[in-house]
């Protein structure tokens, strides 16, 4: 079946097969591999994207449900070569190791900061509790989000 949606501000149309998730469509149909496939069961947050402005796990959204929706992925956060302050902060803080959780965390941190521009440490931890990271022990991620909060306009 045909699927039409807005992805990162661009109108996209693609053929999909029933059963494909939004994550699969983004990755394999539209070539946007930034949203990651760590569990595909909504357990790790690595596929976090905005769906009509809400932070969701793309792996649990069926392609059909996303028809006509607006999707923003990690690829949509930077403007060309210019990184978003959250992305800058992740680099600056050393919050990236293997990087597999990074796109999901960046979208989740972006969402947090858009709702709460000066989160406390406890609020950051609570907001990012749905994103698993196995490399960093989260310390530098926490630092990154706090840094981004200071630089985000």
């Amino acid at each position: 079946m045909k699927l039409r949606l807005m992805v990162n501000g661009e109108s996209r149309e693609t053929e999909v097969r029933e059963g494909e998730s939004l994550l699969y469509v983004l990755r394999e149909r539209l070539g946007l591999f930034g949203s990651k496939n760590a569990c595909e069961q909504g357990e790790c947050g690595s596929c976090s994207v905005y769906l009509d402005g809400e932070l969701v796990c793309a792996c649990l959204v069926l392609a059909g449900q996303a028809e006509g929706s607006e999707v923003v992925t990690v690829e949509g956060l930077s403007e060309g070569e210019r990184l978003h302050p959250v992305q800058e902060a992740f680099l600056e803080a050393g919050a990236v190791q293997c990087g597999f959780c990074t796109p999901g965390l960046i979208v989740a941190a972006h969402d947090l900061l858009s709702r709460n521009s000066e989160p406390t440490e406890a609020e950051v931890r609570e907001a990012l509790a749905g994103n698993l990271c196995r490399c960093t022990g989260y310390e530098k991620i926490l630092t990154a989000v706090q840094m981004a909060a200071e630089t985000t306009p």
């Binding site: 029933e18 595909e40 809400e54 069926l62 059909g64 449900q65 509790a129």
Partner: protein
Amino acid sequence: MRPYKYVRAQDVDGAVATLAEAPNAAFLAGGTNLVDLMKLEVMTPDMLVDVRRLTSDRVEGLDDGGLRIGAAVPNSVLAADHKIRSRYPALSQALLAGASGQLRNLATTGGNLLQHTRCVYWQDVTTPCNKREPGSGCSAIEGHNKNHAILGASEHCVATHPSDMAVAMAALDAFINVQGPEGERRIPIEELHRLPGDEPQRDTTLQHGELITSVDLPPVEFFSNSKYRKVRERASYAFALVSVAAALDIEDGIVGDVRIALGGVAHKPWRATKAEEALRGEPASEANFRAAADIELEDAQPLRDNAFKVPLARNVITRTLLDLSEEGR
């Protein structure tokens, strides 16, 4: 995932009518539970009727002073609603204790009520399970059963209901509004979920084609003195070992009225009516709270791995009531 047909219904009537004629069809709302289960092939509907945009996504006042929560209200929105937070804090706390932010944004009120068990044997299609395949046997009774039921289980099934939200709603005397092929009906939440008995394949009393359209919370003043506590194995993003939702009305140190519901202990949100009964009119003391918890837990039948849930439930009940009695004074 097995092939299925995806249908976006135009309205509730249409959705109900479509489902009624398709015996293997299912409603799809947030999808956080159903989509996962379809990937695992635990659920294999041949048609999905998307109802997410059909029912109300608002929390509105009722004439009697209560609140009506549309079935499509996302968990995150419900948790943040100021009326819920001030008048039914246990419900907001329960929602925030469940899943992750990403999932709460997707999950709906109606869908959360109909969450399926997290019993690992039910989720593993290679193992026997009476809930998935009636008559095939229960793998959990002799298996890893620390997450399983201590109350109200049967020899056919020892699974627990996984929802946090439903436990709070059970304590808060919610009513579930349903529309089905036969029309509308209103079900006390106590009668929505069921114990496994010899039909563990049935989680609820809903008939095929019945759709939850909204949930009503009654206007009970002391529900503003309510709490939800959840014990789990890590600090977030894990199902309850045991959880408690309670509301307490105290006058002059005496329990006027009380509601207690337990999560993680039974096939349904477990309303602790015996404990409630034992407490009404009694002094609000730690000893009485503990004794009431013991009365409720007298019938507990722990399995090999979950005997710890008995003292745990007792401790959580006692502590929650103590907390409410201090704050409710």
